[in-house]
Symmetry: C2
Subunit: 169 residues, 2 copies
Amino acid sequence: MTDRQSASMEDYLEAIMVLDREGGKVTVTRISQAMGVKKPSVTSALSRLVEMGFATHEKYGEIHLTGKGLRIARDVYKRHQALKRFLIDILDVKEDIASEDACRMEHYLSSISVERLDKFIEYVMGCPQGKPLWLEGFNYYLNHGKRNPEHMAACSSRCKVSSKNGKLF
Amino acid sequence: MTDRQSASMEDYLEAIMVLDREGGKVTVTRISQAMGVKKPSVTSALSRLVEMGFATHEKYGEIHLTGKGLRIARDVYKRHQALKRFLIDILDVKEDIASEDACRMEHYLSSISVERLDKFIEYVMGCPQGKPLWLEGFNYYLNHGKRNPEHMAACSSRCKVSSKNGKLF
DNA sequence: CCTCTTAGTTAGGCTTATCTAACAATTATG
DNA sequence: CATAATTGTTAGATAAGCCTAACTAAGAGG
């Protein structure tokens, strides 16, 4: 039922979904540019997606995901976002690196682990009073190579009111 | 200089290193069993590793990693451990799932991100007084679907004295 | 409506990484 | 030490996924 597709197929499905959300027709050229592959690769991939029942594509015509295809695309995207948010918000990795890492790893995280990761981010970032102090402490640790004596004394996880990472994505 | 090899090549290098650490001669058969591939695949992979200067292997003879090969193997293994420890110790994922996830993702985490992840685990698990209370709070959140009111009141990250995860690996 | 440009497809080749079947070398055993 | 069992290699097939080159379809401008 929930068999994973190849990394490549997942990438195509995800790209089609994202391009569709961006608006306008989803074309071979757009997919090609978005994914950094040549157009014949897209045509070839599309024929496999169609064969597997994940997309529809009439010659020279429109490209759409089927229900099945969309479900997979959303799954992949969810994994992508969870990984990216973790890397950026918790580990303080720069956005471009985080995105690249997420793009590569999104195909390999089990559903159990995504679920946990999602909950973890929710738990940490959803701290009622804002960014947890212990996370501030981690930043200090990253920058200074040692624990902040103040944090160690208090060992407090009281939350900051304003979050440093205010952007939605 | 630090070009990443393919996932498959990294897997072979890692397996050879681990088998070597386990003791005894590293043989085609052992590699084959450890990795779940047939023996001709191992022979073929070995010839590529030798060609790239990552291993030595005389016909019907001994298999060893070169310095270059060992360096890569250690890198991969480090990523593996970081991911696994994170999944188990922080996200409370079961060991077998964590290992599988780590095995697949270990090839795709950038060096910057491993570094951060390592530091993160070090920071969290190395809390002077033991397992942080906020992490206990996360466990509660996982099991009950909501924050523990007590933790919310205190929002404390004081550490438990004894760690629940006492094993080294 | 004809031509030129752009978009998409087809054909064919390459690489990686796997497999099976058959063969060769090595090791163990009576 | 001769033969059987194990171990390792070679040859050849297959599949995914990418590429280039060449072709065809569709659409835009004069």
